[in-house]
Symmetry: C2
Subunit: 361 residues, 2 copies
């Protein structure tokens, strides 16, 4: 995928940098981990420090010291999960932010403006995110509104930015209803976007329902555009999504559970707080090339985590991001070599999911 800040090789995992930093990680470390692109959250950055502050500092890339591409979300998901006193109108969403309650309107046009001020390379059309579960009627009404907002989002860019435009992605909604997912895709494709994201997944629904939602949208997406499954997922979920044609992923899971002392391996998740690791001299995962595994034992990491030392969560975060980024690089390599099915079968069958891999909302 070509962006104005260089080519991104897909399938790709995008570490999440909610507040202008991937939690606990420096840009130099992200670079060394091989992250190709990171995600910034429009809602959070709008609320603090404000897109105008970032713009006057030269944009989000300069502000946070990250030279590679940045994708920003539309703000919709956070408006619908964090903000208070929400009121949805045709114009947009009125709300009070979760930090200091400032009354705010985010409309499709405002969302595009904020993402422009941040200097994003891939921007998302503004969308409504209905809750789960959601009735057919409600999901239908909501996706039609999202389609009208998507058209306004695209129109804003055509009007406001003739040159050096970022890629603009539409977001497929439709809850768990296959007919609505299809309707959402066809409406978005009619407007025409540079890529398509599947939203409203990983919002508390069972995994089988999530897979069906992705499948029912994916079947109707253009073949020559990037497809992005928003907010996903566990390692086997990503591999299964790649098998279903998805190219892009973002997820807080590897960084969030790291801060709780949980590390990914190719077989399962390890809770490093476990007493079994108190005197374990081995690394998190034998053979792993990350800084943590090359230099520190499970025994030391457990000590750091029990002692609530920042270095502990730093080292587990580095490992987990390395794991995710390497998993996607390996998947890409296996596709190029024509042995993805084999890789998928082997990886998924060797992986034992447990309760620590579920995504806390």
């Amino acid at each position: 995928m070509e962006t104005r800040r260089g080519v991104i090789e897909t399938p790709v995992f995008m570490p999440v940098g909610t507040q202008g930093t991937v939690k606990a990680v420096s840009p130099l470390e992200l670079h060394d981990l091989g992250a190709q692109i990171i995600l910034g959250n429009t809602y959070h950055l709008h609320v603090r420090p404000g897109e105008k502050v970032i713009s006057r500092q030269g944009g989000l890339h300069k502000f946070m010291g990250w030279q590679r591409p940045i994708l920003t979300d539309s703000g919709g998901f956070q408006v619908f999960s964090l903000a208070r006193l929400r009121k949805v109108t045709e114009e947009g969403v009125h709300f009070q932010n979760h930090l200091d309650g400032t009354p705010t309107l985010i409309s499709p046009e405002r969302s595009m403006e904020i993402q422009r001020d941040l200097g994003s390379d891939i921007v998302m059309a503004f969308d409504e995110c209905p809750p789960h579960p959601c009735s057919y009627e409600e999901a239908s009404r909501s996706l039609e509104l999202t389609l009208r907002w998507a058209a306004r989002s695209k129109a804003w860019w055509e009007r406001e930015a003739k040159e050096d435009r970022p890629l603009v992605f539409g977001i497929v909604q439709g809850s768990s209803y296959a007919a609505l997912r299809e309707r959402s895709v066809s409406g978005l494709v009619e407007i025409g976007f540079d890529g398509y994201a599947i939203g409203g997944v990983s919002v508390g629904e069972p995994e089988s329902e999530m897979m069906r939602a992705v499948e029912s949208a994916e079947a109707f997406l253009p073949l020559d555009c990037a497809r992005y499954a928003m907010g996903l997922g566990t390692p086997p979920q990503m591999i299964e999504m790649i098998a279903r044609g998805i190219d892009m992923f973002d997820c807080v899971l590897p960084t969030r559970i790291a801060r709780n002392g949980t590390a990914f391996t190719r077989h399962c998740c390890l809770s490093l707080k476990n007493a079994a690791f108190a005197e374990d001299p081995g690394p998190i995962e034998e053979g792993c090339e990350c800084y943590s595994c090359q230099n520190f034992s499970r025994s030391y990491l457990r000590h750091l985590i029990k002692a609530e030392e920042i270095l502990g969560l730093r080292l587990v975060t580095l490992h987990n991001l390395h794991f995710y980024l390497k998993l996607l690089r390996t998947a890409r390599g296996s596709i190029l070599e024509g042995r993805f099915s084999e890789f998928r079968r082997e990886f998924v069958s060797n992986y034992r999911p447990n309760e620590r891999t579920s995504i806390a909302s």
Copy 2:
């Protein structure tokens, strides 16, 4: 100063790694900052994870991934500031640790055993740390006990470690009484140590009293042994101490106030939370070579600190440690070039201490 893990150039600042990590910093970063030696806390490591765990993992250096020298304190200071239900006898100190209340005895011999198990390169004799203020009689009784403990500490090493012995330092006590400081030094010198630390300073007394305590001890210390002022200090305090013949310093100040968003500069401390920095595009300190100053603005750092992002305290910690380590390197260079007095006068007169530089105990 020669240690079994190499030569240390003095005067030297030793970053504090209380629980087997200098807070928020990786060993690689410490190495790149030019730290020559770090400090580990005997009491904390004894309580968690336990010196036997660390010993079975190959010692503290291997455990925490740090190849250069480590100095461990005696545990005395923490026993007297953190532990509960303390009872001092001739044998040692009985207490319950601050974490889970386990009843424990630390005697001079136990302290040496623990420091041996940790694999320390510079060990401290076990000492009693009287509170401030302290009567002459109490300070006198206490320092005599500390002298008997010092003799037992040294005897333990002569008995238990014939070869590959670490450097063993005695600790001068005597509160704010010049006569007692002198008595403490002469008693310690009679026993004979590889170096001498001045303890019982920076325990809440006024700065002038602290300077006098150091001066009254320093005058009687052997010229060919390292002198270490424990738990000091602010930047001008260290420079003043160097002028009084002190070679070694350790202090939590640069790392602790960094986690509160306060950064050192050659003129003063900056509280980066201050609204004045919200849109300041400059680095913490113009011309500073540290990773933070080379890559990030005050505006970004303020945002990270306000948003309570780990990267914020990481970056300020890196800057503050760089500042301390470079200050001591500069002092060393000025001594070698015969212009220390000039450097001292200029640095101290340009530095404006404020309330943010006081050491929280």
